[in-house]
């Protein structure tokens, strides 16, 4: 009896996870988790387009809304390409900017920390994207960035793109255990 109950709970949970994984959310009226937050200053000296004045709103939640949603993660992958994140992060392997597929996180590996890094920018070149991309898009990119080091469920992580092969696709990578970056900050070549 208990086993049956347990099984049905498990089945319902699996079904819900599957529904969430496959959902395509187009409505944009959902309030962003960062909407009510106070403004924080921009950190990056650069901005991706004509600079805006003022600060950016950061997240009040630690978990991003899209970590279980394969479609959104894939959208994040597309935006990562479109907004030329590869220009510095080179398919996650890192070149001018740090690698994103390894276990080292200079500014934290949580969703909110990555969201902050994207929106505020960071010293030494990371532009501040706050106000230039919507919160929704930022969250998609956050989810994708986390998939690069295997932080998401396997069935959510993206597979290879229709591009030049950049090594193993995200879904094939071994999950890394995030840790703070080695002090002192290493020269940003290679990964691991």
């Amino acid at each position: 009896m208990r086993a049956a109950a347990l099984l049905s709970v498990l089945a319902v949970a699996t079904a819900l996870a599957a529904c969430e994984r496959e959902a395509r959310r187009f409505e944009t009226t959902v309030p962003s988790p960062g909407a009510s937050a106070p403004e924080s200053p921009r950190v990056g000296a650069l901005q991706p387009a004509t600079p805006q004045q003022g600060g950016v709103k950061l997240s009040t939640v630690s978990q991003g809304p899209y970590e279980g949603n394969a479609f959104a993660v894939n959208q994040g992958k597309r935006l990562f390409r479109w907004y030329n994140c590869n220009g510095c992060h080179a398919m996650g392997g890192g070149s001018i900017g740090p690698a994103l597929m390894d276990d080292q996180w200079k500014y934290g590996s949580s969703s909110s920390a990555i969201f902050a890094s994207i929106m505020q920018g960071r010293p030494e070149g990371m532009p501040s994207f706050g106000g230039h991309i919507t919160d929704d898009q930022a969250w998609q990119i956050v989810a994708y960035v986390r998939s690069m080091s295997g932080q998401l469920r396997k069935d959510v992580e993206p597979s290879r793109g229709d591009t030049l092969s950049g090594g193993e696709p995200e879904v094939a990578r071994k999950p890394e255990k995030p840790r703070p970056a080695d002090p002192p900050p290493q020269p940003p070549v290679g990964s691991r």
């Binding site: 079904a15 599957a18 496959e22 187009f26 394969a70 069935d155 597979s159 229709d162 591009t163 030049l164």
Partner: protein, 659 residues
């Protein structure tokens, strides 16, 4: 432990009864018992009698047909007026993909195989389909594959890249999540099931025919299923390879369809249509078989032009492999290639035309018994011919480039498939329902059923020709009011609902008649093929004494015409063991008695193996390693399935005669 049975055990296991005496004898009772499936729940899952499995198979495919029909109705409701908000694009794409996939893979091909599993052994005069356990396994695999696809659909993971799943849209970059993986793996299931069924049908038709049923006496329906089965053997591997490459692209990062790394998007289309076009014909050829079975019975004469009919079937099968590119005319092909495929696409009309003319000649020179099955066949002449002619229009490259991927094609393919397969199938249900159940279906409801379907179908699909020519593309979830397509779409939706009402009436008629229909007797229509010599429904062993055949319509003509021969010609077979599932294997061409083959008893292993296969296939959607660890239970079960029991060996040894 001693494994080989002892002399004593073998003596004890010796069979006691041999068949020959007709119904009512102890031998006949023994046969009935021998060929029955076991009672109880485990017995239900262990059943292997071809009629049991076939009926379950038919019901399963018809349930999928119902599901696909509901999806179609939803699509028609969404498109009934411009800018409708019943469904968004995400849902609509899943619905139309599921509709196409269901109808092609879970209904059209398997339902034909299911009917064949029932009828082919009866028509060739034997007691079972070849490899009854494998047959049961194929059925279960099919059911699990279909259920998996629908389970995925209900958790929002319904395939959404079309039943044709063109890459790169269906590839990893543009179809994230698991939706297309479920689709590709469903292919593997139905593929496996279809190939197994094809082998089963081929072996039955070639090796288990009653003595005297030479190849040129084989019923045309069996010919049609034989040709279909051979087509499956050569067509299905293409989609198997294509879908495996797709799933590997999606799961383990291969580059078959990635142009950036040397792959090619058109590779998918070539492989898919190398399967996809024969697929149409392997839906359509069984339909031709139904018609060739129904027309002689209701025209009260043997089929005109038997040889021409057989050659036409074979020619169609060959040509069907030579015209896949006509689905790809818009992809920048060399001109010469296009001309070749145009010619091939038009020439395939010739064998079909030949058959149509032969049927017309049969009807012309016969006397008509005007019953519901014949109505459905006559509808075929209207609908299929129209569909075939629009097919000829489509084969012309310049016109094809205009109407390709428009509603014109939607109309065409439904005229061909519904006219060429579904109408004959419904006719076949009315025709053989008495054989399946022992009861007649209601004629009155049958006529209502027919007219609703016929009118509904034409109202639903004829306007689509015009919509296509006005520029309405396929696979759109909505359209704008300014397009002016609203009215015709509305008419089409109304027709679709009438069609649905017709199908519903069929279901009502079938359910009612199953319980309360008039008793049918062995041969209610006066048919000429062997299934009408069996009782209705047939005994578990089909025939208490296997017939010996001397003509093409053995029920009409049990002995050759002319004065009786001296000594008299044999009319039936005797000497098969009645308390074992033994049957007679004959030679391929002349059907001379050759070998006795003993089939295994019912077993749970086919079901268990199908479960293990399901675990393997479904798990491999989530991890490629499932292909490795999932093989272990499958291998173990197959070994147990194969491994003989000592008592079984004792019985076999008691009957054994070495060649």
């Amino acid at each position: 432990m001693k494994r080989q049975p002892s002399e004593q055990e073998i003596r004890d296991a010796a069979p006691r009864l041999r068949d020959g005496p007709g119904p009512g004898s102890p031998e006949a009772r023994a046969l009935d018992e021998t060929w029955s499936d076991a009672p109880g729940l485990i017995g239900w899952f262990s059943a292997i009698n071809h009629k049991t499995i076939a009926l379950r198979f038919v019901v399963a495919t018809m349930l999928f047909f119902g599901a696909g029909g509901i999806l179609a109705a939803l699509m028609r409701l969404q498109l009934a007026r411009p800018g409708n908000k019943l469904m968004g694009p995400d849902m609509y794409n899943q619905v139309f993909t599921m509709h196409g996939t269901t109808m092609m893979f879970l209904f059209a091909v398997p339902v034909m195989q299911a009917v064949a599993v029932y009828l082919v052994p009866l028509m060739v005069g034997t007691r079972s389909i070849a490899f009854p356990r494998l047959n049961a396994y194929a059925f279960w695999v099919f059911v699990f594959g279909g259920l998996m696809l629908y389970a995925a659909f209900f958790v929002n993971a319904g395939a959404d890249a079309g039943w044709f799943s063109y890459v790169p849209l269906a590839g990893p970059d543009f179809s994230p999540g698991k939706r297309v993986d479920f689709w590709a793996q469903m292919i593997t299931y139905t593929e496996l099931s279809a190939i197994v069924e094809a082998i089963v049908v081929i072996t039955t038709a070639l090796k288990l025919r009653a003595p005297g049923m030479t190849l040129n006496r084989m019923p045309l329906f069996v010919w049609a299923m034989l040709v279909t089965a051979f087509m499956i053997l050569f067509a299905m591997p293409a989609v198997m390879l294509a879908s495996t490459a797709l799933i590997m692209d999606r799961l383990v990062g291969t580059h078959f369809y990635n142009p950036a790394e040397g792959g090619d998007a058109l590779l998918w289309q070539h492989l898919f249509w190398f399967f996809g076009h024969p697929e149409v014909y392997l839906i359509f050829i069984p339909g031709l078989g139904f018609i060739s079975a129904i027309i002689p019975t209701f025209a009260r004469r043997p089929m005109f032009g038997y040889t021409a009919m057989v050659l036409s079937l074979i020619a169609t099968a060959f040509l069907a492999f030579g015209l896949w590119v006509h689905h790809m005319f818009a992809t920048n092909l060399p001109e010469l290639g296009k001309s070749f495929f145009t010619a091939a696409s038009m020439m395939i009309a010739i064998p079909t035309a030949t058959q149509i003319f032969c049927w017309l000649a049969t009807l012309w020179t016969g006397r008509l018994n005007f019953k519901t099955p014949l109505l459905f066949v006559l509808a075929f002449f209207f609908i299929l011919v129209l569909g075939g002619l629009t097919g000829i229009i489509l084969a012309a490259v310049p016109i094809n480039l205009q109407v390709h991927d428009s509603y014109f094609v939607v109309a065409h393919l439904h005229y061909v498939l519904i006219g060429g397969a579904v109408f004959p199938l419904f006719g076949a249900f009315y025709y053989w329902f008495p054989k399946f159940t022992g009861r007649m279906m209601s004629e009155r409801l049958g006529r209502w059923n027919f007219w609703l379907m016929f009118v509904g179908f034409n109202v639903a699909f004829f306007p689509m020709h015009l919509l296509g020519m006005q520029g309405m593309p396929r696979r759109v979830y909505t359209y704008q009011a300014e397009s002016g397509w609203g009215q015709m779409n509305f008419v089409s939706t109304a027709g679709a609902l009438v069609l649905a009402a017709g199908v519903l009436l069929f279901v009502i008629n079938a359910l009612r008649s199953w319980h309360a229909g008039a008793a049918a007797g062995n041969d209610p229509w006066g048919g000429g093929t062997l299934e009408w010599a069996a009782s209705s429904p047939p005994a578990p062993c089909n025939f208490h004494a296997l017939p010996v055949v001397h003509s093409r319509d053995p029920v009409w003509q049990p002995l050759p015409s002319g004065p009786p021969a001296q000594p008299p010609l044999p009319t039936h077979v005797m000497g098969l063991t009645a308390d074992e599932r033994q049957l007679l294997v004959t030679t391929v061409v002349d059907a001379r008695p050759d070998v006795l083959h003993t089939f295994p008893r019912p077993s749970i292993w086919p079901f268990a193996c199908a479960v293990a296969t399901t675990v393997l296939f479904t798990a491999s959607i989530f991890t490629a390693w499932a292909v490795v660890w999932g093989m272990v239970p499958v291998a173990i079960i197959l070994t147990l399935w194969f491994w003989p029991h000592r008592h079984e060996t004792a019985r076999h040894l008691a009957m054994e005669r070495k060649p």
